[in-house]
Symmetry: D2
Subunit: 339 residues, 4 copies
């Protein structure tokens, strides 16, 4: 019997997680929650997702907009084994009582602080830690990117120290009220919150992160310098290590992928839903080994990268899959991530 999954929130992350759940062979999407009768509400209905209303007394607003709803969040939780919370940052925490009262397991996003959950989660790094848990937190987009890469490098080469400069996109494409338009904005926090967040998974990871915001909407780009404990034989050895790991796309020089737009063009060309790129993106030309010093760029698609991790977290918590490899294989097949 499939696990019954509810998705609370139907914005950038929620709509993608709902679509992803609907594609999994071992899950059933029992419904999604919206608080406003906007375009997203119609989209849920067009997709055939049962629609529930969050917040109090808003059923009328949906009805007067001619949008049929199946009930309230509480009604939905009563039909679910697990809920993926995709509400806005810091709103997730306010939902905890509701989820507990309904005796459903809950997955939170990286916009919540780590203590919202029993454990923070990344599929490649600590799948087993989520086994049987009631509340799990998936890392945010940038931290997911870092921890995926750390999973490759730590095990194989050891990490002595890691400097990452995170060049962050200013806003998602539809966040048209956010800037900056023509500026570079440093983040005056050392390290930025990403390093301690990565350390919720790998407490001993010697990483320092620095963040900067730039005027683009497409993807983040990480500039990494990692001192490895056990130097790889060659750059090619590192390339292979990334390439053989799930959820890494390593472009070749001949691909002429000059930057973030070409990455997303590749996704569009290959028919990815919404043109999403759920893998960490690296370039062969952008990986350079000098002794034990590894330099590499990676691009992170902020809109979609955490989607497969949310799916795996469902399996880890509910025992749907025995281990990370098994879950990742199913997730990635269903989402078209196997290249």
């Amino acid at each position: 019997m499939p696990v019954r999954v509810a998705v609370n929130g139907f914005g950038t992350i929620g709509k993608r997680v709902a679509d992803a759940v609907a594609k999994q062979p071992d899950m059933q999407l029992v419904g999604v929650v919206k608080t406003q009768p906007t375009f997203g509400a119609r989209l849920a209905i067009e997709r055939g997702y049962p629609l529930y209303v969050g917040g109090d007394g808003r059923l009328d607003a949906f009805r007067s907009a001619g949008i049929a709803v199946a009930g309230t969040t509480e009604d939905l939780l009563g039909k679910a084994d697990i809920v993926v919370d995709a509400t806005p940052d810091r709103v997730g925490r306010e939902q905890v009582g509701k989820y507990d009262a309904a005796h459903v397991r809950a997955i939170f996003q990286g916009g919540e602080k780590p203590d919202v959950a029993e454990v923070s989660f990344n599929s490649l790094a600590n799948f087993d830690a989520a086994t049987g848990k009631q509340r799990v937190r998936v890392l945010s987009c940038n931290t997911t990117g870092i921890v995926r890469a750390a999973s490759v490098l730590r095990g194989k080469y050891g990490v002595e120290r890691w400097d990452a400069t995170l060049i962050r996109r200013a806003a998602d494409p539809t966040e048209v009220h956010k800037g900056p338009v023509n500026a570079i904005l440093p983040t005056f926090q050392f390290p930025s919150h990403h390093a301690p967040d990565a350390q919720t998974i790998f407490p001993d990871l010697p990483i320092s992160t620095t963040a900067v915001v730039v005027p683009t909407t497409l993807m983040h780009l990480h500039v990494n310098h990692v001192r490895l404990r056990r130097p790889p034989a060659s750059t090619a050895d590192v390339v292979t290590a990334f390439r053989e790991t799930p959820r890494f796309q390593v472009f070749r020089s001949a691909d002429h992928v000059e930057g973030t737009p070409q990455v997303l063009e590749f996704a569009r060309d290959h028919g990815a839903a919404r043109g999403d790129m759920m893998k960490n993106v690296l370039w062969e030309d952008g990986i350079h080994l000098s002794g034990a010093d590894l330099f590499f760029f990676q691009a992170i698609h902020q809109e979609s990268i955490v989607v497969p991790e949310n799916i795996d977290a469902i399996r880890a918590m509910t025992g749907l899959a025995p281990n990370a490899g098994a879950s990742i294989a199913v997730t990635d097949l269903a989402l078209g991530l196997r290249s």
Copy 2:
């Protein structure tokens, strides 16, 4: 027997036309032409499109890149009834002799001057004019948008005069070497080339166009003021006229489509291939009637809007469809444009 279609060029337009041809029930894509063994060449092969090489003596370059090719442009033309020329601007003209020598009909894009063909073409406006022609030119993206709108307004209300300000995107998403980054650039040509181009279809259309370039990659936006000869009863009447015409998407206020990113988000959400929007996009809130004066905005997706017109042109020239309505119905069904 399906019409056999070749596509010469596999860039922004060519790859979309090839995909669109492959989806039509009455057409067969016999091959596409690339001149360089780049990523696009691999994409063609992944999609199962027979790949041919343009230019002289480049077969070796493809072979040394490990890309299997089926022959040269001439070989492909020998297997085709019609070729869609999607080569870069002004390169199409150089292909005419080749197409004539192979006795294939040819469709050119709007980057070529009108006299490259016997007639310029738009599905809603002059489908029949392409019947039996050897060489037809599809309008460019902005002009296609204008002529579609003119097709609605001319017949129903008459156009006394039309002022259109075309706010053009700076570059396509992957044209990363083009600017401007932080500027507004007026085009010092009155009218801009769009007005005379629209008049290749409607010689008596009293339109003046002015163009400006701005730093965005997503879509063009047209600001229109049309003086109508026969005033509509109401704004709602005009909204209905657009909404009932194929290839128009009219967003409602409740859709919260604030600008060009939300238009493309709608396309992504609805599973459009590559997130494309092949329709003229209007907003109910962006249509305003004041007596005989009609004001309206329309957004034009420069990467894809001409694709359905290319498909219809194939049918018009080869007699595959008896009239515009019949062709548009099939094209739009195959491309998912019927809402």
Copy 3:
């Protein structure tokens, strides 16, 4: 004896007006008001402008930041004949009672509604209307640009109708939290508020305005189509009319001023304070006459264009100058606007 001028607010407009007042031979800047002890407060002191504190009980905040202040807004008003209100939009209205109580004349900015004052003002258009008034409102940046141009065209040629598309910059350079980053945003209001605002000066001006926001910080650009009542002899005749009017800069083709950045580069090259361009900017190549139809682009520097009008309004209200020409001549000489 010079007129004693206070400036309430020391942001984008206030700091420029204060500097401009300080340069006038017939005015004395008696002080500026800040509400927060930020960088602007230090700047005022560095410039030698007496600094006063707005709002209640904030003197302590300035003192603890080590910034010497001369008193409160009320103290300053007691020393002034006139105050230029440069507080944020809609805050100006809240100051009216304070100004009245202090028996000072007041000038408001275009972010306030017209009824905040007895009359709206533009130097070229209605200087005399401000004579002896207690409260006058200077138009906003875009409307100032329109009304200046209307002053040229109305008198000389007559205006039968006018279509203006206002392509607005997204944010000022330092407004880094405002977007959009990669979008074109239509304004769903017909006409935009600019047309009725221009009609506060010229009630019979048959203008319709439409507005769009684009991702740039430098200047607005207006695309104009004006039907004139009395056709000019030639385009050159119109060029001359603009060129002979104060506060118009008409670039020649040989100047290679491609767009808004080159306009501001010209200002920087010529030593304009802050690189400002306080004139309406036109291009010879961007003015086109076709019968009675005049097309022209004009660029408007939103940060500075209203500064000379604020200075002239002071003279008009206080009788410092007998007429517009006399005031403009002094203002422009002092501000370096005579070319």
Copy 4:
């Protein structure tokens, strides 16, 4: 007797160097060279700079444009003791023969390869190395920024290793044909050319640089992580070290300088010519010491930062100043850089 200085090229760097030379008490600007009769040529004449024509047979073009010229490059070189070459990248090298033939000393810009000159130069780092030289090369903008910072850190604390990520602006404000508009573009070179270029000054500097291009026009931003040999007592100690060195501007938290636009607004507010910022810009909040690990951001104004170094190089080569301190003091006083 003042040193007679010629400036060959009058673009972004050339016009600024010419202005700076004109402001020095011990130098005489004998003329500038333009190759085209464009706006820059008129600007030179407006500023009273004798104008000479570069290239062959172009005197006629200037005369027919009504621009008076004093002669050719050769004529100018005959009147100069030293020439600052500000021609486009890689054009400078072609001028060497001409300069040698005229027996003038020559200063080249960082766009030329190091071997164009006897030595590469930075005022703080190796002023004495240019003494008496015939050909000296000033570093490029980013490298000048790095070497200035290295001059502070090397001497006082020692540098064990240095990671710098250079987030580069896409284009200068008026380079409207350059992109990208909405992208992050990694530079696939490790290290980027900046590290070896800095090592032309400090051969033993253990620095690695990585570069990325982003869509903005204002300034570059460097993200630095430096491991020091002798740990400073505190972050404040480092702040003081930068603040006490010429050509560093360290903003305080209270200044609310959020990013690159606010830096340039500060320059505009303080009356800097062209709104330029010729100092390295740091933020107190953007300097962080953790043991021996120093993290800091610095912003670099690509249009102007090399100007004072060009001036100092003139003094170093010609013996106008006995040492770096003496030259920097005069340069910075004349340019308004002493705060």
